[in-house]
Amino acid sequence: MKRQKAEAAAFKEPKSFESALKRLEEIAVKLESGETELEESLTIFQEGMQLSGWCQKKLDEAQKKLKILVRSKTGELEVKEE
Protein backbone atom coordinates (compact mmCIF):
# COMPACT_ATOMS: atom_id res chain seq x y z
CA MET A 1 0.00 0.00 0.00
CA LYS A 2 2.82 2.31 0.97
CA ARG A 3 4.69 1.51 -2.18
CA GLN A 4 1.70 2.16 -4.39
CA LYS A 5 1.31 5.60 -2.90
CA ALA A 6 4.91 6.38 -3.66
CA GLU A 7 4.39 5.36 -7.27
CA ALA A 8 1.32 7.49 -7.65
CA ALA A 9 3.14 10.47 -6.23
CA ALA A 10 5.99 9.95 -8.68
CA PHE A 11 3.69 10.78 -11.61
CA LYS A 12 5.44 13.44 -13.60
CA GLU A 13 3.30 16.00 -15.35
CA PRO A 14 3.83 15.49 -19.08
CA LYS A 15 5.58 18.22 -21.04
CA SER A 16 2.72 18.56 -23.45
CA PHE A 17 -0.41 16.90 -24.66
CA GLU A 18 1.54 15.54 -27.56
CA SER A 19 4.20 13.94 -25.39
CA ALA A 20 1.51 12.41 -23.18
CA LEU A 21 -0.16 10.81 -26.19
CA LYS A 22 3.17 9.61 -27.48
CA ARG A 23 3.98 8.00 -24.13
CA LEU A 24 0.56 6.31 -24.01
CA GLU A 25 1.23 4.87 -27.43
CA GLU A 26 4.64 3.63 -26.26
CA ILE A 27 3.11 1.96 -23.23
CA ALA A 28 0.52 0.21 -25.35
CA VAL A 29 3.19 -1.03 -27.77
CA LYS A 30 5.38 -2.18 -24.90
CA LEU A 31 2.58 -4.13 -23.26
CA GLU A 32 1.64 -5.57 -26.63
CA SER A 33 5.16 -6.88 -27.16
CA GLY A 34 4.60 -9.19 -24.18
CA GLU A 35 8.22 -8.71 -23.17
CA THR A 36 7.70 -6.80 -19.95
CA GLU A 37 7.78 -8.52 -16.59
CA LEU A 38 4.59 -8.29 -14.57
CA GLU A 39 6.24 -5.86 -12.19
CA GLU A 40 7.17 -3.46 -14.99
CA SER A 41 3.79 -3.93 -16.63
CA LEU A 42 2.08 -2.86 -13.45
CA THR A 43 4.21 0.26 -13.25
CA ILE A 44 3.60 1.32 -16.85
CA PHE A 45 -0.05 0.35 -16.64
CA GLN A 46 -0.43 2.73 -13.72
CA GLU A 47 1.47 5.38 -15.62
CA GLY A 48 -0.87 4.86 -18.57
CA MET A 49 -3.94 5.29 -16.41
CA GLN A 50 -2.54 8.47 -14.89
CA LEU A 51 -1.51 9.85 -18.25
CA SER A 52 -4.86 9.20 -19.89
CA GLY A 53 -6.59 10.74 -16.87
CA TRP A 54 -4.35 13.76 -17.23
CA CYS A 55 -5.16 14.05 -20.95
CA GLN A 56 -8.87 13.94 -20.27
CA LYS A 57 -8.49 16.55 -17.56
CA LYS A 58 -6.62 18.78 -19.97
CA LEU A 59 -9.33 18.46 -22.57
CA ASP A 60 -11.97 19.35 -20.00
CA GLU A 61 -10.06 22.40 -18.81
CA ALA A 62 -11.40 25.84 -19.45
CA GLN A 63 -9.46 27.77 -22.04
CA LYS A 64 -6.50 29.63 -20.65
CA LYS A 65 -6.76 33.36 -20.83
CA LEU A 66 -5.39 35.03 -23.89
CA LYS A 67 -1.94 36.39 -23.17
CA ILE A 68 -0.40 39.34 -24.88
CA LEU A 69 3.13 39.44 -26.22
CA VAL A 70 4.43 42.99 -26.18
CA ARG A 71 7.72 44.74 -26.68
CA SER A 72 8.64 47.07 -23.87
CA LYS A 73 10.24 50.45 -24.44
CA THR A 74 13.64 48.92 -23.88
CA GLY A 75 12.96 46.40 -26.63
CA GLU A 76 12.45 43.39 -24.37
CA LEU A 77 9.58 41.02 -25.06
CA GLU A 78 7.13 40.51 -22.22
CA VAL A 79 4.06 38.37 -21.79
CA LYS A 80 1.12 40.08 -20.14
CA GLU A 81 -2.22 38.76 -19.03
CA GLU A 82 -5.07 40.26 -20.96
Partner: protein, 420 residues
Amino acid sequence: MFSLVFYPVFPIFLPIGGFIEKVWTVTELTRSVKENLEEAFPAIWVEGEISNYLRHSSGHRYFSLKDEGAQLRGTIWRGVGQYLDFEPEDGLKVHAFGNLTVYEKRGEYQFNVLKLLPVGRGALELAFQKLKEKLFKEGLFDEEHKKPIPEFPQRIGIVTSPTGAALQDMLKVFQRRFPPAELYLYPAQVQGERAMGEIVDGLRAFNEWGKAEVIIIGRGGGALEDLWAFNEEKVARAIYASRIPVVSAVGHEIDFTIADFVADLRAPTPSAAAEMVVPDREELEGVVSSLRERIAGLFSHQVEQAESRLGAVLGSYGLRKPADLVTQKMQAVDELARRAAMALSHRLEKSKLELKSVAERLLSLSPKSVLSRGYSIVRCLPDKKVVREYKEVKADDKVELIFSNGKAQAKIMGTSPEGL
Protein backbone atom coordinates in the same frame (compact mmCIF):
# COMPACT_ATOMS: atom_id res chain seq x y z
CA MET B 1 -10.67 65.72 -63.12
CA PHE B 2 -9.38 67.21 -66.32
CA SER B 3 -11.75 68.49 -68.91
CA LEU B 4 -10.65 69.18 -72.39
CA VAL B 5 -11.91 72.59 -73.37
CA PHE B 6 -11.21 73.68 -76.85
CA TYR B 7 -10.97 77.36 -77.68
CA PRO B 8 -10.99 78.18 -81.40
CA VAL B 9 -7.97 80.26 -82.14
CA PHE B 10 -7.90 80.15 -85.87
CA PRO B 11 -9.29 82.97 -88.10
CA ILE B 12 -12.97 83.16 -88.76
CA PHE B 13 -14.15 84.50 -92.09
CA LEU B 14 -17.83 85.26 -92.32
CA PRO B 15 -19.56 85.60 -95.65
CA ILE B 16 -20.70 89.23 -95.66
CA GLY B 17 -23.17 90.33 -98.30
CA GLY B 18 -22.62 87.16 -100.31
CA PHE B 19 -18.91 87.97 -100.75
CA ILE B 20 -16.64 85.15 -99.84
CA GLU B 21 -13.12 86.24 -98.96
CA LYS B 22 -11.50 82.81 -98.47
CA VAL B 23 -12.58 79.25 -99.02
CA TRP B 24 -10.71 76.54 -97.06
CA THR B 25 -10.28 73.08 -98.33
CA VAL B 26 -11.19 70.35 -95.86
CA THR B 27 -7.58 69.30 -95.78
CA GLU B 28 -6.38 72.83 -95.07
CA LEU B 29 -8.86 73.24 -92.28
CA THR B 30 -8.16 69.88 -90.77
CA ARG B 31 -4.43 70.51 -90.91
CA SER B 32 -4.90 73.84 -89.23
CA VAL B 33 -7.05 72.27 -86.51
CA LYS B 34 -4.42 69.59 -86.04
CA GLU B 35 -1.59 72.10 -85.74
CA ASN B 36 -3.47 74.22 -83.26
CA LEU B 37 -4.58 71.26 -81.22
CA GLU B 38 -1.13 69.76 -81.05
CA GLU B 39 0.27 73.06 -79.96
CA ALA B 40 -2.39 73.62 -77.33
CA PHE B 41 -2.09 70.13 -75.76
CA PRO B 42 1.45 68.92 -76.34
CA ALA B 43 1.94 66.63 -73.36
CA ILE B 44 -0.72 66.08 -70.77
CA TRP B 45 -2.09 63.55 -68.31
CA VAL B 46 -5.69 62.45 -68.70
CA GLU B 47 -7.73 60.35 -66.33
CA GLY B 48 -10.48 58.14 -67.64
CA GLU B 49 -11.91 54.68 -67.90
CA ILE B 50 -10.94 52.43 -70.77
CA SER B 51 -13.72 51.17 -73.03
CA ASN B 52 -13.97 49.49 -76.44
CA TYR B 53 -10.42 48.33 -76.04
CA LEU B 54 -9.11 46.66 -79.15
CA ARG B 55 -5.71 45.21 -79.71
CA HIS B 56 -5.14 45.01 -83.39
CA SER B 57 -3.04 42.27 -84.96
CA SER B 58 -0.63 44.99 -86.07
CA GLY B 59 0.22 45.55 -82.41
CA HIS B 60 -1.51 48.92 -82.18
CA ARG B 61 -4.23 49.40 -79.58
CA TYR B 62 -7.41 51.41 -80.07
CA PHE B 63 -9.84 52.38 -77.36
CA SER B 64 -11.88 55.15 -75.78
CA LEU B 65 -11.20 56.99 -72.58
CA LYS B 66 -14.38 58.06 -70.94
CA ASP B 67 -15.86 59.56 -67.84
CA GLU B 68 -19.44 60.48 -66.91
CA GLY B 69 -19.55 63.40 -69.31
CA ALA B 70 -17.47 62.64 -72.38
CA GLN B 71 -15.41 60.27 -74.45
CA LEU B 72 -12.01 60.62 -76.01
CA ARG B 73 -10.58 58.35 -78.66
CA GLY B 74 -7.20 56.96 -77.79
CA THR B 75 -4.41 55.05 -79.46
CA ILE B 76 -1.35 53.22 -78.26
CA TRP B 77 1.06 52.56 -81.11
CA ARG B 78 2.93 49.28 -81.21
CA GLY B 79 6.24 50.86 -80.20
CA VAL B 80 4.70 52.15 -76.98
CA GLY B 81 2.47 49.13 -76.43
CA GLN B 82 5.32 46.67 -76.14
CA TYR B 83 6.66 48.50 -73.09
CA LEU B 84 3.38 48.55 -71.18
CA ASP B 85 3.51 46.97 -67.72
CA PHE B 86 0.11 45.44 -68.21
CA GLU B 87 -2.51 44.82 -70.81
CA PRO B 88 -5.37 47.29 -70.33
CA GLU B 89 -8.94 46.10 -70.39
CA ASP B 90 -12.39 47.62 -70.51
CA GLY B 91 -13.48 49.24 -67.28
CA LEU B 92 -9.96 49.87 -66.02
CA LYS B 93 -9.41 53.36 -64.68
CA VAL B 94 -6.14 54.82 -65.88
CA HIS B 95 -3.90 57.85 -65.97
CA ALA B 96 -2.78 58.26 -69.55
CA PHE B 97 0.09 60.48 -70.59
CA GLY B 98 0.37 61.68 -74.17
CA ASN B 99 -0.58 64.33 -76.67
CA LEU B 100 -3.66 65.28 -78.56
CA THR B 101 -3.64 64.91 -82.31
CA VAL B 102 -6.01 64.70 -85.25
CA TYR B 103 -6.51 61.79 -87.57
CA GLU B 104 -6.97 63.78 -90.71
CA LYS B 105 -8.52 61.12 -92.87
CA ARG B 106 -11.52 60.94 -90.58
CA GLY B 107 -11.35 64.38 -89.14
CA GLU B 108 -11.26 62.99 -85.63
CA TYR B 109 -9.15 64.13 -82.80
CA GLN B 110 -7.59 61.45 -80.65
CA PHE B 111 -5.27 61.02 -77.74
CA ASN B 112 -1.95 59.42 -78.51
CA VAL B 113 -0.88 57.56 -75.39
CA LEU B 114 2.81 57.36 -74.51
CA LYS B 115 2.49 56.06 -70.96
CA LEU B 116 -0.31 54.32 -69.12
CA LEU B 117 -0.77 53.77 -65.37
CA PRO B 118 -3.64 52.00 -63.71
CA VAL B 119 -5.37 53.97 -60.96
CA GLY B 120 -6.96 52.83 -57.67
CA ARG B 121 -7.87 49.16 -57.64
CA GLY B 122 -6.21 48.70 -60.99
CA ALA B 123 -2.91 49.98 -59.62
CA LEU B 124 -3.14 47.66 -56.60
CA GLU B 125 -3.92 44.69 -58.77
CA LEU B 126 -0.98 45.44 -60.97
CA ALA B 127 1.35 45.81 -57.99
CA PHE B 128 -0.02 42.52 -56.65
CA GLN B 129 0.67 40.70 -59.90
CA LYS B 130 4.14 42.14 -60.23
CA LEU B 131 5.16 41.28 -56.67
CA LYS B 132 3.64 37.83 -56.94
CA GLU B 133 5.65 37.14 -60.05
CA LYS B 134 8.84 38.49 -58.54
CA LEU B 135 8.57 36.48 -55.32
CA PHE B 136 7.54 33.39 -57.22
CA LYS B 137 10.68 33.66 -59.35
CA GLU B 138 12.77 34.10 -56.22
CA GLY B 139 11.33 30.87 -54.86
CA LEU B 140 9.46 32.31 -51.88
CA PHE B 141 6.41 30.19 -52.69
CA ASP B 142 8.29 26.92 -53.17
CA GLU B 143 6.72 23.90 -51.54
CA GLU B 144 10.05 22.68 -50.22
CA HIS B 145 10.31 25.74 -47.98
CA LYS B 146 6.96 25.08 -46.36
CA LYS B 147 7.32 23.97 -42.78
CA PRO B 148 4.91 21.41 -41.37
CA ILE B 149 2.36 22.63 -38.85
CA PRO B 150 2.77 20.78 -35.51
CA GLU B 151 -0.01 18.35 -34.73
CA PHE B 152 -0.70 19.49 -31.19
CA PRO B 153 0.64 22.98 -30.74
CA GLN B 154 0.88 23.90 -27.08
CA ARG B 155 1.53 27.59 -27.68
CA ILE B 156 0.00 29.46 -30.55
CA GLY B 157 1.07 32.94 -31.58
CA ILE B 158 -1.49 35.21 -33.20
CA VAL B 159 -0.73 38.46 -35.01
CA THR B 160 -3.91 40.41 -35.58
CA SER B 161 -5.97 43.29 -34.29
CA PRO B 162 -6.98 42.93 -30.62
CA THR B 163 -10.36 44.43 -31.45
CA GLY B 164 -11.13 42.62 -34.68
CA ALA B 165 -13.74 39.94 -35.26
CA ALA B 166 -11.00 37.64 -36.55
CA LEU B 167 -9.53 37.26 -33.07
CA GLN B 168 -12.91 36.53 -31.47
CA ASP B 169 -13.68 33.95 -34.16
CA MET B 170 -10.41 32.18 -33.55
CA LEU B 171 -10.77 32.20 -29.76
CA LYS B 172 -14.16 30.54 -30.07
CA VAL B 173 -12.79 27.74 -32.22
CA PHE B 174 -9.78 27.16 -29.96
CA GLN B 175 -12.04 26.93 -26.92
CA ARG B 176 -14.32 24.44 -28.60
CA ARG B 177 -11.65 22.27 -30.13
CA PHE B 178 -8.52 22.30 -28.04
CA PRO B 179 -8.56 24.03 -24.65
CA PRO B 180 -5.02 22.94 -23.70
CA ALA B 181 -3.57 25.38 -26.24
CA GLU B 182 -2.08 28.57 -24.83
CA LEU B 183 -2.79 31.59 -26.98
CA TYR B 184 -0.47 34.56 -27.33
CA LEU B 185 -1.53 37.67 -29.18
CA TYR B 186 0.83 40.20 -30.67
CA PRO B 187 -1.54 43.12 -31.20
CA ALA B 188 -1.09 44.63 -34.62
CA GLN B 189 -3.09 46.93 -36.80
CA VAL B 190 -4.21 45.04 -39.87
CA GLN B 191 -5.03 47.94 -42.13
CA GLY B 192 -3.78 51.45 -42.58
CA GLU B 193 -0.32 52.92 -42.56
CA ARG B 194 1.01 51.14 -39.52
CA ALA B 195 -0.29 47.70 -40.43
CA MET B 196 2.68 46.51 -42.48
CA GLY B 197 5.26 47.44 -39.85
CA GLU B 198 3.29 45.96 -36.99
CA ILE B 199 2.63 42.65 -38.72
CA VAL B 200 6.34 42.36 -39.52
CA ASP B 201 7.18 43.22 -35.89
CA GLY B 202 4.77 40.54 -34.71
CA LEU B 203 6.39 37.85 -36.82
CA ARG B 204 9.84 38.88 -35.64
CA ALA B 205 8.73 39.10 -32.01
CA PHE B 206 7.40 35.53 -32.00
CA ASN B 207 10.59 34.28 -33.62
CA GLU B 208 12.69 36.10 -31.07
CA TRP B 209 10.55 34.86 -28.18
CA GLY B 210 10.74 31.36 -29.64
CA LYS B 211 8.08 29.67 -27.54
CA ALA B 212 5.14 29.59 -29.92
CA GLU B 213 5.09 26.55 -32.18
CA VAL B 214 2.95 28.13 -34.86
CA ILE B 215 1.97 31.70 -35.77
CA ILE B 216 -1.32 32.75 -37.30
CA ILE B 217 -1.45 36.11 -39.05
CA GLY B 218 -4.71 37.41 -40.35
CA ARG B 219 -7.76 39.59 -40.32
CA GLY B 220 -11.37 39.49 -41.40
CA GLY B 221 -12.63 40.29 -44.86
CA GLY B 222 -12.47 43.68 -46.52
CA ALA B 223 -11.80 45.50 -49.74
CA LEU B 224 -8.54 44.88 -51.56
CA GLU B 225 -7.21 48.12 -50.11
CA ASP B 226 -8.04 46.97 -46.58
CA LEU B 227 -6.17 43.72 -46.99
CA TRP B 228 -3.22 45.49 -48.56
CA ALA B 229 -0.75 45.05 -45.72
CA PHE B 230 -0.81 41.32 -46.44
CA ASN B 231 0.33 42.04 -49.99
CA GLU B 232 3.40 43.98 -48.95
CA GLU B 233 6.80 42.64 -49.84
CA LYS B 234 8.15 43.22 -46.32
CA VAL B 235 5.40 41.08 -44.83
CA ALA B 236 6.08 38.37 -47.40
CA ARG B 237 9.78 38.38 -46.55
CA ALA B 238 9.10 38.31 -42.81
CA ILE B 239 6.87 35.25 -43.28
CA TYR B 240 9.55 33.61 -45.36
CA ALA B 241 12.21 34.37 -42.75
CA SER B 242 10.15 32.93 -39.88
CA ARG B 243 11.63 29.80 -38.33
CA ILE B 244 8.22 29.09 -36.85
CA PRO B 245 5.55 27.88 -39.29
CA VAL B 246 3.18 30.66 -40.32
CA VAL B 247 -0.49 30.25 -41.18
CA SER B 248 -2.10 33.08 -43.10
CA ALA B 249 -5.79 33.69 -42.62
CA VAL B 250 -6.78 36.82 -44.45
CA GLY B 251 -10.31 37.81 -45.35
CA HIS B 252 -12.74 35.43 -46.91
CA GLU B 253 -12.37 32.28 -48.94
CA ILE B 254 -12.06 34.20 -52.19
CA ASP B 255 -9.42 36.67 -51.03
CA PHE B 256 -5.91 35.69 -51.96
CA THR B 257 -2.96 37.69 -50.72
CA ILE B 258 0.78 37.45 -51.22
CA ALA B 259 0.98 36.35 -47.58
CA ASP B 260 -1.15 33.34 -48.51
CA PHE B 261 1.36 32.24 -51.10
CA VAL B 262 4.41 32.57 -48.86
CA ALA B 263 2.83 31.17 -45.70
CA ASP B 264 3.41 27.56 -44.75
CA LEU B 265 -0.33 27.07 -44.73
CA ARG B 266 -3.12 29.19 -46.17
CA ALA B 267 -6.44 29.19 -44.36
CA PRO B 268 -9.51 30.56 -46.13
CA THR B 269 -10.69 32.43 -43.01
CA PRO B 270 -9.45 33.09 -39.47
CA SER B 271 -11.88 30.52 -37.99
CA ALA B 272 -10.66 27.97 -40.49
CA ALA B 273 -7.06 28.74 -39.49
CA ALA B 274 -7.91 27.89 -35.89
CA GLU B 275 -9.54 24.64 -37.00
CA MET B 276 -6.56 23.70 -39.12
CA VAL B 277 -4.01 24.42 -36.42
CA VAL B 278 -5.43 22.48 -33.49
CA PRO B 279 -6.81 18.95 -33.35
CA ASP B 280 -10.42 18.22 -32.59
CA ARG B 281 -11.19 17.59 -28.95
CA GLU B 282 -13.75 14.85 -29.59
CA GLU B 283 -11.37 13.01 -31.84
CA LEU B 284 -8.66 13.30 -29.22
CA GLU B 285 -10.95 12.02 -26.51
CA GLY B 286 -11.55 9.00 -28.68
CA VAL B 287 -7.82 8.47 -29.15
CA VAL B 288 -7.10 8.81 -25.43
CA SER B 289 -9.86 6.49 -24.31
CA SER B 290 -9.01 3.83 -26.87
CA LEU B 291 -5.36 3.92 -25.79
CA ARG B 292 -6.52 3.66 -22.21
CA GLU B 293 -8.64 0.63 -22.96
CA ARG B 294 -5.90 -0.97 -24.96
CA ILE B 295 -3.42 -0.57 -22.10
CA ALA B 296 -5.87 -1.85 -19.48
CA GLY B 297 -6.83 -4.81 -21.67
CA LEU B 298 -3.25 -5.79 -22.36
CA PHE B 299 -2.36 -5.54 -18.73
CA SER B 300 -5.30 -7.60 -17.52
CA HIS B 301 -4.38 -10.20 -20.07
CA GLN B 302 -0.89 -10.38 -18.63
CA VAL B 303 -2.31 -10.72 -15.12
CA GLU B 304 -4.41 -13.66 -16.25
CA GLN B 305 -1.35 -15.30 -17.72
CA ALA B 306 0.60 -14.75 -14.52
CA GLU B 307 -2.18 -16.42 -12.61
CA SER B 308 -2.11 -19.49 -14.78
CA ARG B 309 1.68 -19.61 -14.48
CA LEU B 310 1.26 -19.47 -10.73
CA GLY B 311 -1.01 -22.45 -11.00
CA ALA B 312 1.63 -24.29 -12.97
CA VAL B 313 4.37 -23.44 -10.49
CA LEU B 314 2.33 -24.60 -7.55
CA GLY B 315 1.11 -27.70 -9.30
CA SER B 316 4.33 -29.23 -10.43
CA TYR B 317 7.61 -27.41 -10.76
CA GLY B 318 7.80 -26.64 -7.08
CA LEU B 319 7.74 -30.27 -6.14
CA ARG B 320 11.33 -30.58 -7.25
CA LYS B 321 12.51 -27.35 -5.61
CA PRO B 322 13.07 -26.39 -2.02
CA ALA B 323 9.78 -25.60 -0.38
CA ASP B 324 10.90 -22.16 0.60
CA LEU B 325 11.46 -21.08 -3.00
CA VAL B 326 7.96 -22.09 -3.86
CA THR B 327 6.59 -20.05 -1.02
CA GLN B 328 8.62 -17.05 -2.09
CA LYS B 329 7.47 -17.24 -5.69
CA MET B 330 3.96 -17.76 -4.58
CA GLN B 331 4.14 -14.70 -2.40
CA ALA B 332 5.73 -12.58 -5.07
CA VAL B 333 3.15 -13.48 -7.65
CA ASP B 334 0.37 -13.15 -5.13
CA GLU B 335 1.61 -9.74 -4.18
CA LEU B 336 1.78 -8.59 -7.77
CA ALA B 337 -1.63 -9.95 -8.56
CA ARG B 338 -3.06 -8.22 -5.53
CA ARG B 339 -1.44 -4.92 -6.37
CA ALA B 340 -2.52 -5.23 -9.95
CA ALA B 341 -6.07 -5.93 -8.96
CA MET B 342 -6.00 -3.07 -6.50
CA ALA B 343 -4.54 -0.70 -9.04
CA LEU B 344 -7.17 -1.70 -11.51
CA SER B 345 -10.10 -1.31 -9.19
CA HIS B 346 -8.71 1.94 -7.85
CA ARG B 347 -8.47 3.40 -11.35
CA LEU B 348 -11.77 1.95 -12.38
CA GLU B 349 -13.60 3.72 -9.62
CA LYS B 350 -12.06 7.03 -10.47
CA SER B 351 -12.33 6.76 -14.19
CA LYS B 352 -14.67 9.07 -16.00
CA LEU B 353 -14.13 7.25 -19.23
CA GLU B 354 -15.88 4.15 -20.40
CA LEU B 355 -13.70 1.72 -18.58
CA LYS B 356 -16.75 -0.39 -17.99
CA SER B 357 -15.94 -2.68 -20.85
CA VAL B 358 -12.42 -3.17 -19.59
CA ALA B 359 -13.76 -3.97 -16.14
CA GLU B 360 -16.09 -6.50 -17.60
CA ARG B 361 -13.27 -8.13 -19.41
CA LEU B 362 -11.25 -8.27 -16.22
CA LEU B 363 -14.03 -9.66 -14.10
CA SER B 364 -15.12 -12.32 -16.49
CA LEU B 365 -11.97 -14.22 -17.17
CA SER B 366 -13.94 -16.27 -19.57
CA PRO B 367 -12.65 -19.83 -20.02
CA LYS B 368 -12.99 -19.35 -23.71
CA SER B 369 -10.27 -16.69 -23.85
CA VAL B 370 -7.99 -18.94 -21.80
CA LEU B 371 -8.71 -21.84 -24.16
CA SER B 372 -7.96 -19.73 -27.19
CA ARG B 373 -4.48 -19.16 -25.83
CA GLY B 374 -3.66 -22.86 -26.00
CA TYR B 375 -4.98 -24.31 -22.79
CA SER B 376 -7.60 -27.02 -22.77
CA ILE B 377 -9.90 -28.61 -20.23
CA VAL B 378 -9.76 -32.35 -19.55
CA ARG B 379 -12.90 -34.12 -18.36
CA CYS B 380 -13.34 -37.76 -17.37
CA LEU B 381 -15.80 -39.75 -19.38
CA PRO B 382 -18.53 -40.58 -18.97
CA ASP B 383 -19.17 -38.51 -15.78
CA LYS B 384 -17.61 -35.30 -17.23
CA LYS B 385 -15.75 -34.47 -14.04
CA VAL B 386 -12.99 -31.92 -14.65
CA VAL B 387 -9.51 -33.39 -14.20
CA ARG B 388 -7.33 -31.13 -12.05
CA GLU B 389 -4.36 -33.40 -11.39
CA TYR B 390 -2.73 -36.44 -12.83
CA LYS B 391 -3.82 -38.62 -9.93
CA GLU B 392 -7.42 -38.31 -11.03
CA VAL B 393 -6.81 -40.44 -14.10
CA LYS B 394 -5.04 -43.69 -14.88
CA ALA B 395 -4.05 -45.55 -18.00
CA ASP B 396 -6.88 -46.53 -20.33
CA ASP B 397 -9.33 -44.01 -18.82
CA LYS B 398 -11.43 -42.30 -21.46
CA VAL B 399 -11.33 -38.50 -21.34
CA GLU B 400 -12.69 -35.57 -23.27
CA LEU B 401 -10.53 -32.59 -24.28
CA ILE B 402 -12.29 -29.27 -24.65
CA PHE B 403 -10.68 -26.66 -26.90
CA SER B 404 -11.90 -23.15 -27.56
CA ASN B 405 -13.70 -24.24 -30.68
CA GLY B 406 -14.41 -27.96 -30.25
CA LYS B 407 -13.82 -31.22 -28.43
CA ALA B 408 -11.79 -34.40 -28.78
CA GLN B 409 -12.02 -37.79 -27.13
CA ALA B 410 -8.84 -39.49 -25.90
CA LYS B 411 -7.51 -42.38 -23.93
CA ILE B 412 -4.92 -41.92 -21.16
CA MET B 413 -1.74 -43.79 -22.02
CA GLY B 414 -0.05 -43.39 -18.68
CA THR B 415 0.59 -40.85 -15.88
CA SER B 416 3.59 -39.40 -14.09
CA PRO B 417 4.17 -36.62 -11.55
CA GLU B 418 6.46 -34.64 -13.85
CA GLY B 419 5.16 -31.17 -14.60
CA LEU B 420 5.77 -28.61 -17.32
